[in-house]
Amino acid sequence: MTAEHGDAEFADTDTYITRHLNEAAAALTAHSDIRAKLRAVFCADLQNGEHDTNTGIARST
């Protein structure tokens, strides 16, 4: 919490907007295949080619 975030004049506005942005992030998480996106991050990093026996995805070290 910063001085700006504690500004009483805009407290209701801040709460309203923050709540809806948090809910928007949750909606995006629910809609997106986050696990697939995470696997894609690991798959993009294959240059060292070590194999991860848990996921079947090669990984760098």
Binding site: T2, F10, L21, A25, A27, K37, R59
Partner: protein, 164 residues
Amino acid sequence: LNRDGFASFFQQRYSSTAVLLIAMGASRADAEDAVQEAMINAWQKWETIHEPTAWVRTTAIRKLQKGKRQLPPTTALDESAADPEGTDLAVFSEEQRRVLSLLRQLPTAQRTITALYYDGLSAEEIAEVTGKPATTVRSHLRHARRALKEVIASEQSWSAAPDP
């Protein structure tokens, strides 16, 4: 490498960083691409990154601002060039889209600063990210929040008004 630590971070920050970029005016597709690329870079350097939230945020913003991912001067949700049919943000509720629209319609100078503020940054941190003086950041924040407060109050009084 700390795979579990990165996975936990990814799940916590992927969507909120994408929403930050959408609030700054990006299409959902461009926002998600920029975050994904920033996350790949973060994983490649994971052991050397001390503040991953700030690192990914800054990297994603830079990626968004490069090349074709230019942020438009002011973007109403129904005017997105990347999504003329308005389906890009259909994942969000009407109220969530309305709040995103309010942020996206702020003047350019205020929009990025305000989006960063609602991502939890202080005026000093925003000054560091944007390269603007903290006093300028505070001034833009004050003007933007005042405008947002007035619009939200106006909308809520309309919705609360009894039918004639």
